[in-house]
Symmetry: C2
């Protein structure tokens, strides 16, 4: 289930020496066509890293032939010199593969505020080009890891076509704003409009609803490349479903590997007047440090949930709110409900359900608990 499983792609992952650990740190994925349709979603942060500034330009025509990714340095807040490094990477890939640089997306992840080692990066890219193969997907997935403890890959098979993906990032919870990078490949023959719509909708309900620590990265990139090599044009709804399922699977893998986390928390907001209300409420809860500490402590503290709900503009009446932990309704009508002793938070998976009693809409936000390990890893990382 690697990104080279869909037809028309080659990939590689090599060690350039950018990472102090000596682990693989340069990945390359090439779309050999016949199509070069692509779609991308980038971080909404206004202080973007250089590779994002470059790749936004690449994606303006919704076409891309290759993506080169490095770990071991985010190339963020590195000024014109950093932008030049990004541009040179694209030029180098393009020159080796006979493409235009403007068809090469660039992604970087790692520490911010430091220049990349251009010599090492260039050598790594040359080695990656030489190593390209139709079996290179797993190596590529490994080369984009930073603090991830395992590589993340997924595959959804359609009727004669497929969608595959790889991802890195420990939720958004990892040190130094550990960037989320996702590359999806498909051999379905879809047009740019279909690809773009499918990717945006998938991202909206998966990665955008994974809110490990509320910190938005400067480098986040989700890229979908479409080779058309299967010769099959799937029903657009089936295609969108496959892309969404692939993104959901990768998002769940990111959450499960979030640094320092001991609980994966699904916040189901139901009974909302609108989906936006449900998302706003879920996000407010996911960003409450007091709630996240309580889950770490095995404490079904519904009062902290109501307090977070109360900071939102969603439609609800405080005295009608219900809250459940793992199906036990510890709060009914804004007051104590079932005995909190019935709640068992010893497992890794925790589901919080909040019923706003204001409508029929719902949404789920995923997050993690706030732990000693989170504080440790994020205070000790860059020193």
């Amino acid at each position: 289930m690697t990104i080279t499983e869909p037809k028309g792609f080659r990939a590689a992952g090599v060690t350039a020496g950018l990472k102090a650990s000596g682990r693989p740190d340069v990945a390359l994925v090439v779309n050999e066509g016949p199509l070069d349709v692509a779609a991308a979603v980038f971080t909404a942060n206004r202080c973007k890293a250089n590779p994002v500034l470059w790749s936004e330009q690449v994606m303006a025509d919704r076409r891309a032939r290759a993506v080169v990714l490095n770990s071991g340095g985010a190339n963020c807040y590195t000024g014109p010199q950093g932008f030049q490094a990004t541009h040179a990477s694209a030029e180098l890939v393009a020159g080796k593969l006979g493409l235009g640089a403007i068809d090469v997306v660039v992604c970087s992840t790692g520490l911010i505020g430091e220049q990349l080692d251009r010599d090492k990066l260039d050598a790594g890219i040359e080695n990656a080009v030489a190593a390209l193969s139709a079996e290179g997907g797993a190596a590529a997935a490994e080369a984009i890891m930073t603090t991830d403890t395992r590589s993340k890959q997924t595959l959804r098979a359609g009727d004669g076509w497929s969608v595959a993906g790889m991802a890195k990032g420990a939720g958004m919870l990892a040190p130094a704003l550990a960037t989320m990078l996702v590359v999806l490949t498909t051999d379905a023959a879809v047009d740019a409009e279909t690809a773009d719509r499918a990717l945006r909708e998938a991202t909206r309900v998966t990665f955008d609803r994974l809110d490990s620590d509320g910190c938005m990265s400067t480098n986040d990139t989700v890229l979908l490349m479409c080779s058309g090599a299967s010769g099959v044009t799937p029903d657009s709804a089936a295609f969108a479903t496959a892309v969404r399922e692939a993104c959901h699977d990768l998002a769940q893998q990111l959450m499960a590997d979030a640094e320092g986390a001991e609980h994966d928390i699904a916040i189901d907001v139901v009974g909302a007047a609108t989906e936006d209300d449900a998302v706003e409420v879920g996000r407010a809860i996911a960003r409450s440090n007091l709630f996240k500490c309580a889950v770490f402590g095995g404490d079904p503290n519904w009062g902290r949930i109501l307090a977070a709900v109360g900071t939102t503009n969603a439609v609800f009446e405080p005295h009608r709110l219900d809250v459940a932990f793992n199906g036990v309704w510890v709060c009914r009508g804004g007051e104590p409900g079932e005995a909190r002793e019935k709640v068992d938070l010893s497992g890794r998976a925790v589901t919080v359900t909040v019923d706003l009693k204001a409508g029929a809409k719902s949404a789920t936000i995923w997050t993690n608990d706030l732990t000693h390990a989170y504080v440790h890893e994020n205070s000790a990382y860059s020193t």
Copy 2:
């Protein structure tokens, strides 16, 4: 420097047994006039505790004769039974003092979702009434403490009049949304409009800019009672300044006693197009767990600051941003500036300066670092 230093006030602090620790837990402050002018600011949380729901009604006419406060229970999310407990407290105080219940503000703090012990509370209130004295300010300040390690009091002397105050709460950073309760007294002869305007402006630039963990309490109350007993009507600007200085002093005491914190952080945002921009940027930084962990680790991680700035709607250009830690400009123009090794974060006080280069406005937001102790105290508190 107690709240009974201004003329016209009596106060008491007694032990009712609401706290498991057996420490004082009921406070009473009475304004003996001749004026009964009062102003109050309450939590903006939509899920409010019962004492806030009651006290908002009390303050509708901007008059109050007394405030009764209890620690050992927030009386929050306790439904009609909890509201009845609040109302009965006001009735009891009023009956003993010959007032109307509608002139008695009620404040509570402690765990949420649990009913108060009415018998203990009633007995405590009766004892507090009996203990009222013109020297009772310090005892009252002690009785409202929860996880505070010391009581917080302040005094600002005018020309023949004064403003005093007491506060509890460990910033907004303490366990179980540890409420911030503040009572200010003054013997200045001011009208309701002057009192209200002074209190709102003071709160806006002091307590509202103390953002320890971004969690908004359900019980926060700031009350100013004006006895007029000095017979002096101060210049309204001088009065406003004294109220603001008293609030600032109390806010700084709250920050210094924030649970689990090892650093007090002042985030000075300068060069902003508007004051609102400066506040928005400061608050975004104060709410970045990654930034707060970095300060805990002694790491002047300006990249995490820029990433937080980038989530705001303030006017700025990313490539013009400057950031300093304790006066060392580690980021200049969105790139590495002075050597980070020059920054010494070993002291408790940390000043972060962010220059948006977009105008002449500024604002300061105060916060704390995110520490192991924060996680520990907020995960273990209610279990």
